[in-house]
């Protein structure tokens, strides 16, 4: 259903500007101020003024911040279209921006996020199950992620050595990324010797806690032709909320329902896995890329462990994954830096970490915890 509709947007929407702030520890600004800074950087990148932007999509961040009403006020804007998303991860925000533009509600939409969760010392120790499971000590995303990993290991023989490849590879990418927070060498040995957080997840399987912001500006492909940088086109988008049945199903935590997002995004875009030159998977823990490589069909079910070996996912490999270093090593931005990175790679702006061979098509896969998933395919 709706595939013709999904195809109708192909190449009609463009990302025309991106902005990313410094990442890490920004003690003197709150999340909204950091978001505003990202917005200004994106405007500059696009060659636009604030007055040119008539749509605003923000994303909630800790401490009651991130509301569109707060940020519009701070920016002195009264956009025709204005909305706050709970958890934008770039993908959900991009999809909403595309829908808004196609519907004629606005024509230049800024999607923005900023957080100072690190300096604010926000707690990540909240419960992750039902309201009662706190009683059993079930806290933090590491809990369900560890359970999913253990099942994967039990069913397919995935090993900790194989899992370590994600952390080690993303760290190598981060070392080439000027805004990445973690830039010290990380070896497989260090990964294996690092303490468990929730066994079998190691310290280096977990994303950072950082301050920072990101913004991208979306417009019609037509409008983007006259802007500063070459437009990056949206080929296709898809989403699903398969995980809302959560505890009631054995698919709980393993997320096979993500397969449907894959099928729809490739059908909408008219490309397949082999056409993807640069892949981005939101990584709150390494379990996300483990699962999504399989569910999006880059490898068979249960095969991601062996698949990522032999530098296959390095920027010099067959399937460059998270060229920015991901949330494990670049920064933890609820998936907000992956699309700016994809755009910069497709534009050829990434210097030392530029993926060789002039990448043409990028894909980004993200989720909202275990309950929703989204994917976008972009091209230059």
């Amino acid at each position: 259903m709706g595939i013709e509709q999904a195809r109708a947007i192909r190449d009609k929407i463009s990302i025309c500007g991106v902005g990313t702030t410094e990442q890490g520890t920004i003690p003197d600004k709150n999340g909204n101020e950091i978001a505003a800074e990202a917005f200004k950087l994106a405007l500059e990148d696009a060659g636009l003024r604030k007055e040119d932007v008539n749509g605003l999509i923000t994303c909630k961040s800790f401490g009651g911040l991130g509301l569109d009403t707060q940020i519009a006020k701070m920016l002195g804007m009264a956009p025709q279209y204005s909305a706050t998303l709970d958890y934008g991860t770039c993908n959900f925000s991009l999809h909403l921006a595309a829908a808004v533009i196609m519907a004629g509600l606005a024509d230049v939409v800024a999607c923005v996020y900023g957080t100072n969760q690190r300096s604010n010392r926000n707690s990540f120790s909240t419960g992750v199950g039902t309201s009662e499971s706190d009683a059993f000590g079930y806290f933090n995303i590491a809990g369900p992620a560890a359970m999913a990993l253990r099942r994967h290991m039990n069913k397919y023989g995935t090993t900790e050595e194989q899992m370590g490849t994600f952390a080690v590879t993303f760290r190598k990418h981060a070392q080439l990324n000027p805004i990445a927070v973690m830039r010290d060498e990380l070896t497989l040995k260090q990964y294996l010797e690092s303490r468990y957080i929730v066994e079998p997840l190691h310290l280096f399987d977990m994303c950072l806690i950082t301050d920072g912001g990101g913004c991208f500006i979306v417009t019609s492909a037509e409008r983007a032709q006259s802007m500063r940088k070459p437009p990056i086109y949206v080929m296709g988008m898809a989403e699903s909320s398969g995980g809302l049945r959560d505890f009631q199903t054995e698919d709980n935590l393993m997320r096979p329902w993500i397969k449907g997002v894959g099928e729809r995004v490739y059908a909408a875009s008219g490309v397949s896995q082999k056409d993807i030159d640069a892949l981005y998977i939101q990584d709150p823990t390494s379990v996300w890329p483990l699962q999504m490589l399989e569910w999006y069909g880059f490898c068979g079910e249960g095969e991601a462990g062996p698949f990522i070996q032999d530098d296959r996912i390095s920027i010099h490999g067959e399937l460059p994954l998270n060229s920015n270093g991901g949330q494990l090593s670049e920064s933890y931005m609820w998936g907000w830096l992956h699309i700016p990175e994809a755009v910069r790679q497709l534009r050829g702006e990434c210097g030392e970490r530029q993926i060789p061979g002039n990448p043409e098509i990028a894909q980004y896969c993200s989720t909202m915890a275990f309950s929703k998933a989204a994917s976008s395919i972009l091209r230059r």
Partner: protein, 137 residues
């Protein structure tokens, strides 16, 4: 009975879940069974997520199940658990179908395995609250 239990406790007085906690005090595991379609649901809810019917009965379960998965917490997220580190959290697949989060007891963490057959037991943590936990069978 420990009088200084400082771990998070469930809200046992909410209308739609009170029978679960009353039964736990009596050392029984109960869950809602839909009067419309027979679906056994967890967590407690006023509505059947299959057929949306509201009428349900609280069915007494066998208390038997198997370990669907588990994690061993080495990192301390809540200070009340300090003395338990490393502690396990397990998701149990009950015979009747639902998955439930709990802890394994009477077993060393290293011996816990996916697929292990388990049965419910109850831990009286306060005068008012008993928590269902699971042990090997």
């Amino acid at each position: 009975m420990p009088s200084n239990y400082n771990k998070p406790i469930p809200n046992i007085d909410q209308a739609h879940s009170k029978p679960f906690w009353d039964a736990a005090k009596r050392r029984q595991l109960v869950l809602q069974k839909c009067s419309g379609c027979g679906y056994v649901r967890h967590p407690a809810s006023s509505l059947c997520p299959e057929c949306l019917a509201e009428n349900n009965e609280w069915a007494t379960l066998s208390g038997l199940g198997e370990i669907w998965s588990f994690g061993i917490y080495h990192h301390l997220y809540n200070a009340a658990f300090r003395d338990d580190i490393p502690y396990n959290v397990a998701v149990i697949k009950l015979e009747e179908g639902p998955l439930i989060v709990s802890n394994m007891v009477n077993i060393a963490n290293e011996n816990i395995q996916i697929g292990m057959r388990v049965k419910v037991t109850f831990e009286n943590v306060t005068d008012a609250i008993s928590l269902p936990k699971f042990e090997p069978r």
